[in-house]
Structures are given as C-alpha cells and as structure tokens.
C-alpha cells in the first residue's frame, strides 16, 4: 500500500479554521443524545412500551392472570374464548363489561363437547378483584388480581386447552419463563462475549487467532440442530429449574459469539485511535484506559447487539419446547403451550391454541424495533 494515503498536515498554507458542525447538540452528553435520537424513532418507542408492558406482565404474572393457570376445569375442556360483552342477550346495555358462562352439550356424531353461552350465568368483569389464592414469586401469599370475575365464575378470554386450563392465564404465566430465558441467556452471552472478545481484541496474537477460529466454528454450526442435540441430552430426571438453566446455558453457548465479535472489532479499531494513544502517552494504566476510555466508547454497540440477540434466545426456547425437547410440562412457557398446536387437526378445531404465537411474534417484533432504534441512535452515521 502506498505511503501517501494519509495527508500530511504540516507545511501547508492552510486557511482552514477547522470548524465542526457542532450546533444545538453541543452541550448534551452521549447518552442524552442517544436517547433523543431514539425517541425520534417512533416504532422503536412503540416497541419499548410494548416490551416494558410484557415484562411487567411477566414479573407480576400472578397478579395479572385472571385465573389459576394450573386448575383444570374438567367440565370446560377445549372451550372456546368467551366474548366480552356490553349488551346482554335481551339488548340491554351495561357500562360494565361482562361474559356469559359456558354450557356444553356432547355432539353425538363427533363425540366433542359443543359450547354455547349460558345466558343464565353472567359474570361481571371487575378490576382489582379477589381471585383464587396465589404466592407472588413463590413467597408472598395474595389473592388480589388485576382483573377477573368473582369467585365461582370463570373467565376464559382465549379459551381453554385439552385439560380445561385457561389459555390466557397460561400465556401470562408463560411470559415469565419465555421472557426471562432471553434476558438471562443474554447476560451470560454478554459476560462471555465481553471477556473473550476483550482479551482477544486487546492481546491479539495467538489468543485472538484461536478465538477467531472458535467463533468461526460456532457460527458455522446450524444452531437449531445443535441446540436440539444438546437439550435432548439434558437428563430427564432433572428438576424443572435445572432444565431451565440448562436450556439457558445451551442457548448462550452460541449467542456469545456476536457480542465477542463486536467487542473485539471495537477494541481492535480503538486500540490505535488517537485518544487512546494519547491516554497511553499520558501514562494512564491499561485498566484505566480500558474502563475509562475503551468501554464507554463502544458500550452502546454492545447494548444494540445484545438487544438484537434477545429475540433469538426467546425463539430458541420456544422452538425447543415446541419440539418437546426443551422445557416440559408442568413448566409453563410459550413454547410449551405451542407444543399443543403441533397437531394441525387440533389447531383447526381449537384455533385458540395458536394464541401464544401472537405473543411470541409481538415480543420479537417489538424487540427488533427497539434494537433497530438503538442502533440508529448509537451510530447515526451507520444507516
């Protein structure tokens, strides 16, 4: 390569006063700027609101679910969703929404239960109602629910499954597992990725070469078959909580490579940046340079990369559980719920079994919006 690729600035009769296009953005910090640019991205803001909402559901699922997700209403097996009504069957309007209870008859031809609204059983929907007892996070007993019907009534917003359990409440409980697995998996990936990527980018040489090969190897293995292989090997006698962490680790096993790549390439390009050289020249210690100069300058890229890899984790869990080799009942996750939808004949008769899919897609879509908005906000020049 030519020596004169760079332009020597000395000895030049320069008129250049060297102004930069600093305007109103002058006085704001990096994070404030990023946040301002993020807010301009409407879809991303929308996504963020949805995501916050979904995580609230997940954290307080006992409070938000109107029914107990484990209780089997054996007289209401495979019942369709109840309609929320404001007008009763005689045409009277009511400001308070309500549902009619189900009554079932057995269809003698298909031997299936057929459900009809039972106009004699009217259950009013109420906010902050008292429902069946639960233990918040497994510790704090309570019975207050965000909304629901009075005790004795039943509310199946998304119908029931083949054991007569409320699908809506199961989806809300499932969000706790499905959403947290993505988050925990991402934190594991982040830790491994930052550490290995950082060492590799800083030290270079043999370690870097080795890590590059490992990343290349892991990226060329198709993730789903490998995940399948590893999670099928989790011992069947493991407790649900161990399986949960096992799956998380399996998902992070491939996930860290993205973070590592971002961190490594940032370190490599920053290592020779002038402000880093200046810090070295000023006698700053390496640790100080890394923590004070390097990490702040690329942390936004890492956040973007992490946000964009959460959907992959969530989908990984969903896919594995859907196939029956991830989490298993009685654990409730969106993938476990979707396993029932594997049988297309069942889905055709009971289409509400597909409702967990709406939540999966909504989550992934919103996370992608947020990640995209963050990416644009972190680096306005890398459109």
């Amino acid at each position: 390569m030519a020596l004169n690729d760079t332009s020597p600035e000395q000895q030049k009769l320069q008129v250049d006063a060297g102004i930069e296009n600093e305007t109103t953005e002058r006085s704001l910090s990096h994070w404030q700027l990023m946040w301002r640019r993020f807010l301009k991205h409407r879809l991303a803001v929308f996504g963020l609101i949805v995501i916050i909402g979904l995580y609230m559901l997940a954290i307080f699922c006992e409070f938000f679910a109107p029914m107990d997700p484990y209780v089997r209403y054996s007289q209401f097996v495979n019942a369709p969703p109840q309609r929320i009504r404001f007008v009763d069957h005689e045409g009277n309007f009511s400001i308070r929404p309500f549902v009619y209870g189900h009554k079932s008859t057995l269809d003698m031809q298909s031997f299936r239960r057929v459900y009809e609204p039972d106009y004699s059983k009217r259950y009013d929907l109420r906010l902050f109602t008292k429902g069946s007892k639960y233990k918040l996070w497994g510790f704090f007993p309570g019975s207050l629910r965000f909304f629901g019907v009075e005790e004795g009534g039943h509310l199946f917003l998304f119908g029931t499954d083949n054991l007569g359990r409320d699908v809506f409440s199961r989806i809300i409980y499932g969000s706790r597992i499905s959403l947290s697995i993505g988050l925990i998996g991402v934190f594991i990936s982040l830790a491994i990725g930052m550490l290995l990527g950082g060492i590799s980018g800083l030290r270079g040489g043999l370690i870097d070469e080795l890590l590059q090969r490992v990343i290349e190897l892991l990226r060329s293995v198709p993730d789903i078959p490998l995940w399948m292989g590893l999670s099928a090997a989790l011992p069947p006698h493991w407790s649900p909580i161990r399986v949960y962490f096992g799956i998380t680790v399996i998902l992070s096993l491939l996930g860290w490579t993205h973070v590592a790549r971002v961190v490594r390439s940032r370190f490599l390009s920053l290592r020779n940046e002038e402000f880093v050289l200046a810090a070295y020249a000023a006698g700053a210690s390496e640790w100080r340079i890394i923590t004070k100069h390097l990490i702040p300058s690329f942390i936004s890229y890492v956040i973007v990369s992490v946000t964009l890899s959460i959907p992959g984790m969530i989908l990984g869990e969903t896919a594995l559980s859907f196939l029956g080799i991830g989490l298993r009942p009685p654990v409730i996750s969106w993938g476990v719920l979707l396993e029932q939808a594997q049988n297309i004949a069942a889905v055709n008769t009971y289409p509400w079994l597909l409702t967990p899919a709406i939540f999966v897609i909504l989550t992934v879509l919103s996370l992608n919006f947020v990640g995209d908005g963050l990416r644009d906000a972190a680096d306005p020049y890398s459109k």
Binding site: L43, R213, V214, E216, L217, R219, S220, V221, P222, D223, I224, P225, L226, M228, G229, L230, A232, A233, P235, P311, L315, T318, A319, F322, L323, G324, I325, L338, A341, Q342, I344, V347, N348, P351, L354, A357, V360, I361, V364, L365, N368, F369, D372, S382, K383
Partner: protein, 327 residues
C-alpha cells in the same frame, strides 16, 4: 488468491475438526453408551443377549477404551463411510443419511436462491428510493419477516390452508406419488409442494438480506466514486447498477456462508411442522429415542454442509472482489 484460498482451506479443516468433536460430544452426552441402548432394544424385542456377545460388541465398538480412542475409532470409521448403526431403525446410519440428506441440500439451496433473487432487487430499490412508500413497505415487511419464526409461520399457513381450503400443505409429495418412482408427474408434484417450505424458511433470510442490501447500498451511494461516475455522463441506471450496487453485492455474497447455517437450521424445524421427508423430523425422532449415532451424524453432516457453503462463498468473494483476489 492462492494464499487466501489456502488459508480458507486450512481454516475449513480446523472447523471440520471442531465440528466432529462437537458431534461426538452430542453422541456421548446421554447417560449410558450406545451398547446399553442397543441391549435394551434387543431385550425389548425378546432377543436373549449373552455376556460373551456383549463383550465382543463392546470390544468391536471400542467402548472399553478411553474416550479419545473411541473418538478416533469413530472418526476413522466415518472416513470409511461407517457412521455407526441406528438401533431404532436397525439400519446403518449412512443409509438413513443418504436417504434424507440430498433432499435437505436441495431444499436449502433452492431457498438460498429464492432468498437472494428476491432480496437483492428489493434492497436496491429500497436504497435508491429511500423514504419512498415502497421503501417503507419493504422495511415493514422486513421487520415482520425477521420477527415471525419459520415454524410459527408454517403452523399458521398450515392452519389457514386447512381451514379455508381444507387441504394440507405439508409434505413434499401427494399421497399418490409418495412411493412412486421418479417421473415427470412426480417432479411436478414436488414443485407444487416445494414453494411452502421455500417461502417459510426463506422469509426471515430474505427480510434480513433486504435490510443488509439496503444498508450497504445506501452506504455506497454516498461515496465519491458514485459522484465521479455521474460526472462522466453515464445514465443514472448504469451509475447505480455498475457502481454502488456492484460494490454492495460483495459483502452480501460473502455472507452466503453465514446464511446457509440459518437456512439449514430453519429447514430442520420447519420440516418437523410440515412433516417433510428430510433430516429434520428424523433428527428429532432420533434425539427423542436417544438414537445417538444417527442424531450426532445428522448434526455433523448438516454442519459440514454449511462449512462447504462457507468455503464456496469465500471462493466466490475472491472471484468478484479484486481487493481480495490480488491480495
């Protein structure tokens, strides 16, 4: 170029070695070994197994040796075409793989082509007409595409077709052709079925590629050489296609190798939902019944497939990019 390719080849060999270790690990992970499963299987079918027979089998498979010897026996066996036995099918793994793998490759490649043929023009259009209605539409479809996982899309499509038209869109052949020998009519039947997996698996890849193509083209559009090309008096379409698009295609081609694992992954699970007679359902079944030689070999062959794909994309990149070719 020779240097570059030698380097890529060496990397490929290292990767292949790594893949074989990963696959072997998957085989070894479940408790017990191949033989315990085999014996259980034999006993279940009522065969009486005597101790001497077990010992000889144990020796034959090297199960009494340390793990690295077992690995060595296994890997050298593969070079001779011996992938081990599937106790569930009572068939050599090689036979099972060679029944399923060609169709997996065919579907993956078709999906790959479909993805690129669709994504590149849309990406270019989106970049050149940035912020137009068509661009927003492409961005929106792109978001939807990457957010709906293939297996859910397959599920929804299956349901929709079954519900509305009462037809099943699963499988690769109609019942009439399932076991028929190859003929023109069977081929046509295959084509009729193939579009579903192609769209379902290709959807997310296409969406991702549109985004990449759009972004890289936008990047290139702003560069000085585009102004330079315009300053020569070239017609606008020629400026766009010969200059920024031609440069933007390079990184897209170089990611063919990364696209392939995604597609193979996608086909695996979509094949389960659509019950396609390819590797996916068989792999799942093998895993569920702990038929580990079969499962491990599948994982290995699918990975090898993608590694070869990566190598091809590296070669392609060297051919079309002089900066790499002349390195």
């Amino acid at each position: 170029m020779a240097n570059y390719l030698t380097k890529r080849l060496i990397y490929m060999l290292i990767t292949l070695f790594g893949i074989s270790i990963i696959s072997f690990t998957v085989i070894q992970l479940p408790p017990g070994d191949y033989l315990t499963s085999y014996i259980t299987e034999l006993q279940a079918s009522g065969t009486v197994v005597d101790e001497a027979q077990i010992a000889s089998l144990r020796q034959r498979y090297g199960l009494d040796k340390p793990i690295y010897v077992q690995y060595f026996k296994w890997i050298t066996g593969i070079f001779r075409g011996d992938f081990g036995r599937s106790f569930e099918w009572n068939e050599s793994v090689r036979v099972l793989i060679s029944e399923r793998l060609p169709m997996t490759i065919a579907i993956s490649l078709l999906t790959l082509v479909f993805t690129y043929v669709l994504a590149i023009p849309i990406g270019i259009y989106s970049a050149v007409r940035q912020y137009s209605f068509g661009d927003y539409l492409a961005i929106f479809i792109g978001f939807i595409g990457i957010s709906i996982p293939g297996f859910l899309l397959a599920l929804v499509l299956m349901f929709a077709f079954y519900h509305m038209f009462g037809i099943s869109i699963g499988g690769l052949f109609s019942a009439a052709f399932e076991d028929a020998p190859w003929s023109w009519a069977k081929f046509k039947d295959l084509v009729d079925h193939l579009w579903v997996p192609m769209i379902v698996v290709g959807m997310s890849g296409t969406a991702g590629l549109i985004r990449t193509m759009r972004a890289t083209t936008l990047d290139e559009l702003g560069k000085d050489y585009v102004k330079m090309a315009r300053s020569k008096g070239l017609p606008e379409w020629k400026v766009i296609l010969k200059h920024p698009v031609r440069v933007a295609i390079n990184p897209i081609v170089s990611t063919v190798g990364w696209e392939l694992p995604r597609i193979v992954s996608g086909t695996t699970i979509v094949a389960v939902v659509l019950s396609l007679p390819i590797t996916g359902p068989l792999l799942l079944q093998a895993l569920l019944s702990q038929d580990m030689y079969l499962a491990g070999s599948f994982i290995m062959m699918l990975s090898v497939l993608t590694v070869i794909g990566t190598l091809i994309s590296d070669i392609l990149l060297a051919v079309i990019d002089p900066r790499i070719r002349l390195e």
